[in-house]
Symmetry: C2
Subunit: 357 residues, 2 copies
């Protein structure tokens, strides 16, 4: 069966401020030393499994120019623009309707976040191939689970059934939303929980049947959209129907409700690149434990993340601090305070300074 990919690139994350902005979110940033952006790496990663013309990108019109610029080889027709953000369930449904119209038949669909990193691309491809094989069987929905390293409370977890292996995956018992630290510790030690990576594999027919069962109103709208795609009324109908969809995640809307969910554990060096701290995992530090980029001088400065540009940044006697310098804004943040970066953005919103957002 034809394999397609839908890359989700509509996110507006704020955690890489001041480098990420409303008009330049994380997926379009280069955070690795190879200079490639996260979305470029995402495409590169699935190319062994999916032909270029079968890769679709879901975004919104604000980011259309960035997608075209960064992914010039993706056919323009494959870039799907949501008229408004409605979370992942309508977003994925829209993608599925669009892709199925293009192929006029069933296809395997891989859904991939555009702002994550993977260290071992070959193992990634192998894991996805395993997921494809489960997805092609019946009406299964497959999610890639990541063996948790530590009791992260910011991720969702997947509880699977060790006793119900199927091919190279397991049947999912249930999903657990962001847990308490206590619960997360229990999950990590139990061997039956995985992190929910947000990477999904299914046949378009399977996810559509699930929409029909669990989100019938959305299903109805998607059917209308499906009929309109590639007609002269496409834009008009999408702009009429899409905004009426509820803003619901695919996890909440479908995955948590179905009993046909499988997970394939992935062991490919996954990283969701959740904050500036991720640079410690994805870039090499120097002899002083500093991760530096730009025009930097350090004196007695250790374990810092320093991301500058042309401007000289001199650090003297600094430890465990993140410094990010851009044209119009500089962030200086203690490593243990990254969760508070959003307060800077709140302040900027309250004080009506959109030029920095």
């Amino acid at each position: 069966m034809k394999k397609t990919a839908l890359i989700m690139a509509g996110g507006r994350g704020e955690r890489f401020w001041p480098r990420s902005r409303r008009d330049l979110p994380k997926q379009f940033l280069s955070l690795t030393s190879d200079g490639k952006t996260l979305i470029q790496l995402t495409v590169e990663r699935i190319r062994p499994l999916v032909e270029r013309e079968d890769i679709f990108v879901s975004t919104n019109s604000d980011y259309l120019p960035l997608v075209k610029e960064q992914l010039p080889d993706i056919p323009e027709q494959n870039v799907i623009c949501e008229p408004v953000g409605r979370n992942t369930a309508p977003g994925i449904g829209f993608g599925a309707a669009y892709i199925s119209k293009k192929y006029e038949g069933d296809a395997v669909m891989m859904v991939l976040p555009s702002d994550h990193l993977v260290k071992y691309n070959q193992m990634f491809a192998a894991t996805l191939q395993d997921a494809v094989e489960i997805a092609e069987d019946g009406c299964n929905l497959v999610t890639i689970g990541i063996a948790p390293d530590f009791p992260e409370t910011g991720y969702g977890y997947i509880k699977f059934r060790q006793g119900e292996a199927f091919r190279r995956g397991y049947r999912v018992d249930h999903f657990a939303e962001k847990p308490s630290l206590e619960a997360a510790k229990e999950y990590v030690s139990s061997d039956e929980y995985l992190w929910n990576s947000g990477i999904f594999v299914w046949k378009i027919s399977s996810i559509m049947k699930h929409f029909e069962q669990f989100m019938p109103d959305v299903y109805e709208g998607l059917s209308v959209i499906h009929d309109a795609v590639f007609t002269s009324q496409e834009k008009e109908i999408i702009e009429k129907i899409y905004p009426k969809f509820p803003s619901i995640s695919i996890d909440y809307g479908i995955m948590e409700k179905s009993n046909q969910i499988y997970t394939v554990p992935g062991n490919f060096g996954w990283d969701d690149v959740g904050s500036w701290l991720a640079l410690e995992r994805i870039q090499k530090s120097n002899e002083f434990g500093n991760i530096t980029g730009g025009n930097i001088i350090t004196v007695d400065t250790h374990d810092c993340i320093i991301q500058g540009g042309e401007k000289l940044i001199a650090l003297v006697g600094i430890e465990d601090t993140i410094v990010v310098d851009t044209e119009d804004a500089t962030l200086i943040c203690a490593k243990d305070s990254t969760a508070d970066i959003k307060k800077v953005l709140e302040n900027l919103k309250v004080c009506n300074r959109p030029e920095y957002l």
Copy 2:
């Protein structure tokens, strides 16, 4: 007797980098909230004692444009340019020769650093007036001493004789160069030591007699310079003689050798503004203990000194840190590491990046 002032403005201090540069040293910076530069405040401070046309500024040709710009009311003829730096003994001697030629007779001469601050200007003027009265008597050299607050090891100390009061001053027993912490602690607790402020008062005839006695070679050169000042040969002779002078401080060359030294204790809120930390003494901090200037957002940030400009600087979870942002360079320095700022400058010199010096 006519009162004159010589403001010493040739210094090239590096401790306010990156705001101070080779072409903009500390005396030309504004570090107080009133926006006036240190040299402007120095002139303002002595105006109650000295007429504008009797105020002289000793600097070098690099800073001539800055002096003219910042002190437009000082007659151009009163700006004395050293052809090369030769420390304070030749510098003061040159000033004395120049001023005495202008007045064709004796005058009181106050020597004032241009890069210090004073909180109580009236008490400053009263103290200097006390010093003038001692200086007018015989051949006395008078230095203003500051009652030490703490055992600073970076200053020179004056040991005076409590039993030998003269008018509102005391006879100086000896000078002590930058002491060890142990010695400094002893000095502070003894009540017979003062900090050496670098502010001197004497008659021109007195300091010249001292040059004649303790630095006869310099005296001879100064006599030749004195004769040449205001003649067509002035520039030529100064450029020939001045560079041959030894680079010696007035303290070492004369003050420590003479037994005609008096000190008047000053209690006028003196501050030598020795590093960025001085801003904690001279500017008001906000409710979080931060001293801020510029376009700043702080989140959970305490006891910092943040000096920016137009560019947004956001600090999150930072404590006890100095941040100074300029057009082309940013300094981020732990408060207890200010002594290491010079290592940044050494690095810049070694790496041949004079644009930042």
